[in-house]
């Protein structure tokens, strides 16, 4: 790989958040090397989504720090972090329900290009935006439904749209929270392919939360395991897969499947 840089692109130190008395993320320290794909796994409620929320700025931590390329971003707001290149998808579908599919994606591109505050020109004049949005929809196999309001999509399609919005943001770092949950078996490969392609371009860093072990094993450069908010392992896929602790806490018999 062309990783010229050996400093971690994201580093978190003793990151903690408490909701009332409960520590959803507890003293997690972790580094992500640039241009790699790191998976985060763990039982339900382990704190994966919360961890993402902390990185993308949806939540403010109770303690600890987040660094992006060595810079402390702990106190930046979500939109600011988004502009710095942190993009995320949501575990539970989070789209603009009444806008068309195309518009959903176009808005993301517009946000990236930063002319949200432009109010002098008709939005259709920014045609490059629309073309690009359409292109992305093609990639995630949603181009036929570009004129549908997003709330009329089925569950699986909404997941794909979520993915498309993220791709439109072209973030340097992608956080993917269970991108394939609810997607039909037939379509998972398409998403996998997208991920693989993004990965092979070699200029993106990806953090992935998934429960589909085969997918994780195929894609990941490294895997971190969370349990009860704590980081219990962080290593290469093989080691994790063999680790007894992980087997017991997370995989159960499911590891044997397919």
């Amino acid at each position: 790989m062309n990783a010229t840089n050996n400093n971690p692109i994201i580093a978190v130190k003793d990151l903690t958040i408490r909701f009332g008395g409960h520590a959803a993320v507890d003293q997690v320290s972790l580094e992500v090397m640039p241009f790699t794909l790191k998976s985060i796994i763990g039982p339900n409620g382990a704190g994966k989504t919360t961890f993402f929320n902390l990185l993308s700025g949806q939540y403010k931590p109770t303690g600890g720090k987040v660094f992006l390329k060595g810079k402390d971003i702990t106190n930046l707001s979500a939109p600011m972090r988004c502009r710095l290149g942190l993009g995320r998808s949501f575990q539970l579908t989070n789209i603009f329900p009444l806008l068309t599919v195309l518009e959903n994606v176009r808005l993301a591109i517009q946000a990236r290009k930063g002319y949200g505050f432009n109010f002098w020109r008709h939005y259709l004049h920014f045609s490059a935006c629309e073309d690009e949005a359409y292109q992305i929809l093609k990639e995630v196999l949603l181009d036929e439904k570009w004129l549908y309001p997003a709330n009329l999509l089925t569950h699986g399609e909404q997941r794909k749209l979520e993915m498309a919005i993220l791709m439109a943001l072209k973030p340097e770092i992608l956080f993917l929270d269970e991108p394939t949950a609810g997607m039909s078996q037939e379509e998972v490969p398409a998403i996998l392919e997208i991920l693989e392609r993004i990965k092979s371009m070699g200029d993106k860093t990806i953090l992935l939360v998934e429960h589909k072990m085969d997918m994780i094993m195929n894609l990941s450069d490294s895997i971190a395991v969370l349990q009860d908010g704590r980081l219990i392992a962080d290593s290469d896929p093989e080691t994790i897969y063999r680790s007894k602790e992980v087997q017991e806490a997370y995989l159960g018999g499911g590891a044997k499947r397919e």
């Binding site: 796994i41 039982p43 382990a46 919360t50 575990q91 429960h211 997370y250």
Partner: protein, 240 residues
Amino acid sequence: MNDAVLKADNLQTYIGHHHILQGISFEARADAVTVLIGRNGAGKSTTLKTLMGLLPPSEGVIVYNGMNIQGKRPYEIARMGIGYVPEDMGIFADLTVEENFKVAKLKEDEATAGRLDRILELFGALGKFWHAPAGNLSGGQKQMLAIGRAMVNNISLLLIDEPSKGLAPIIVEALIEAINQIKEECVVVLVEQNFYMASAVGDYFHILDDGRIVHSGRMEALVDDEELKSRYLGISKSKS
């Protein structure tokens, strides 16, 4: 006992102006798990909603335990002992986990309490967040709550929409176990994308495509039928 407990015949359902279900007919037998599979947008969820009375079909008959329940209101159907887990989980986010269960419980008796204990054993996390607002649960925990809620009553038919999504493998295993247990007492109709789970619990399958059933049979047959799997489910051997 191999009678059809639930029988759907020629269901036609419209949503707005869209003809979504275009003649769905199938049966669900006692002691068995019937799995509906198919690609996104095939109409699986719509089928369950139609059965539940949430989307009244414009045509067709639904017979349950020898009674025509087509046209009945959802709450009447539910009171006949039918549990339902929707794909968006239908959590009451402002209510606590406890209150979610309270709303779900139709009776307060010992049997219900026993079932609740079993559910909490199966999904340990729920007990831990008993008094927390359900909206704060993690994705998987919500899914657990949705399933648990549906099973707390004495039901004889369970309609579940994609229960395994978002659940950790170890929980999926437990869920498979649980479904295999309850199918003794209760008919299960399952919509599932996770073929592993579908094949582990399913006895019969129906493949939906474009609002129609295009293939039905016993699950074992499907597991071995590579052609069918790759045609409708996009599962090719090399990918395993």
